[in-house]
């Protein structure tokens, strides 16, 4: 899942103070929150707010085509391949060139799930429901980057094992990938 930069409430307050109420000319002289201890922003680093941070270099997305296990049952599966340049607009949907029901035999790609044929009233349509048209709203490609936000997510199987429940399969749960919850 895409990890969105989460702005902490403290930062928000200071940001409002810096941007909303301070005269622009004094901005550079003011102590900025990232200089203060405990206000380190994982995305911006130590760059003061008035300055523009240099973005990290782009990484190549995962193109291995290996399916990843889902962190929870209802998680939309992530995209294990490059989608660079894929057209997804009112004219065409490149994802459906392979993932549409009629294309899966040739492409051997997973078919979009049955929920994608339903409108919001539960009626089944002949093809992809318009409300499911924009694949990237839920399904995102993966890249080997460090997560910006730490995650305390625990797989439900791990949780059950901790509590000593007998419902864990004999082989034990698959170990959760360390970058699974917070990856982008």
């Amino acid at each position: 899942m895409r990890a969105l930069p989460v702005m902490r409430p403290v930062s928000l307050v200071v940001l409002c103070a810096a941007l909303g109420f301070a005269p622009a000319a004094t901005l550079a002289q003011r102590p900025v929150p990232s200089d203060l201890p405990g206000h380190y922003d994982r995305m911006r680093g130590n760059v003061p707010i008035p300055e523009e941070a240099t973005p990290p270099p782009l990484t190549n997305p995962d193109n291995s085509d290996v399916r990843r296990s889902r962190a929870y049952a209802m998680q939309p599966p992530v995209v294990p391949h490059k989608i660079e340049g894929y057209q997804l607009d009112r004219n065409a949907n490149r994802c459906m060139f392979c993932h549409a029901r009629t294309r899966t035999e040739q492409s051997q790609a997973p078919m979009i799930s049955v929920t994608h044929f339903q409108d919001r009233d539960g009626n089944f349509l002949a093809e992809l429901s318009p409300r499911r048209y924009f694949c990237l709203q839920c399904h995102v490609p993966q890249a080997p980057v460090n997560p910006l936000v730490d995650s305390r997510f625990v797989d439900v199987e791990t949780m059950l094992r901790r509590s000593g429940s007998p419902s864990v399969p004999p082989g034990g749960p698959a170990p959760a990938s360390p970058r699974e919850p917070g990856q982008r």
Binding site: N63, S64, D65, H81, K82, G85, Q87, D89, R90, N91, A92, N93, R94, M96, F97, A100, R101, T102, R103, S107, Q108, D119, R120, D121, L125, A126, E127, L128, S129, P130, Y133
Partner: protein, 223 residues
């Protein structure tokens, strides 16, 4: 004196037998060289990207779309220009295509696609023209650079390897069958069902495209 004048007069009056042949031959040769040089220079001048995008129709629509794609900018800096893909490289085919292009001159003169809206309305037709042409010549313009014989499947992604080692290798598919809309945006594929078979891309068949044509029920729009 009179006799001498009469002789000269007759020489001047009578057409030269040898000079005319010489002038025709040499003059024809020089004229031919000049004509051919001018013709070929003009032909090559119209076969450049600068010429293509000198018209706003090409510059504002297709050229803008090309610029983000791998055929325009990439890590190694090799790029394809308009004629690399849209004009055959072999001379006879090139002349044939140039003669077809007289229709495009007509379109330019009468402003067939002189606005973005007109271009968008004709995009499916224009795109399928190229699909048909590339299907008919087995994607020759792709293969001028992308030679199947030299593809290293071990350097390709698993999906690419599978597609290239089966459908492309056996000749059941050609490049354009799958690689549509890679240099320019795709047309509205909802209209593709109406196209005849040879103008369609198999990868853009009906049933795989958006279901935007489905009208939402009236009660759904009410709330």
């Amino acid at each position: 004196m009179i006799g001498l004048l009469r002789r000269y007069w007759q020489v001047i009056r009578r057409p030269a037998v040898h000079y005319s042949l010489g002038f025709l031959t040499i003059g024809g040769f020089i004229g031919g060289v000049m004509f051919w040089g001018a013709f070929n220079t003009a032909l090559e001048a119209t076969n450049t990207e600068a010429f293509c995008i000198s018209c706003h129709e090409m510059h504002d629509n297709v050229y803008q779309e090309l610029q983000g794609t791998i055929h325009f900018t990439n890590r190694s800096g090799v790029r394809a220009t308009c004629p690399d893909c849209h004009v055959p490289h072999r001379w006879t085919s090139k002349i044939a295509r140039k003669m077809q292009a007289s229709k495009e001159v007509w379109g330019k003169l009468f402003g067939t696609i002189d606005t973005a809206e007109k271009f968008e309305a004709l995009r499916l037709q224009l795109a399928s023209n190229e699909w048909k042409r590339l299907k008919a010549n087995d994607s020759l313009e792709c293969r001028n650079c992308h030679k199947f014989e030299y593809m290293d499947f071990t350097r390709q992604s698993p999906r690419a390897t599978r597609a290239h080692s089966t459908s492309l290798a056996s000749g059941t598919r050609t490049c354009i069958d799958c690689h549509v809309g890679i240099a320019h945006r795709l047309p509205d594929l909802a209209g593709i069902a109406k196209l005849p078979e040879e103008r369609r891309s198999p990868d853009a068949l009906p049933g795989v495209v958006r279901s935007g044509g489905v009208e939402p029920p009236a009660e759904e729009t009410a709330d």
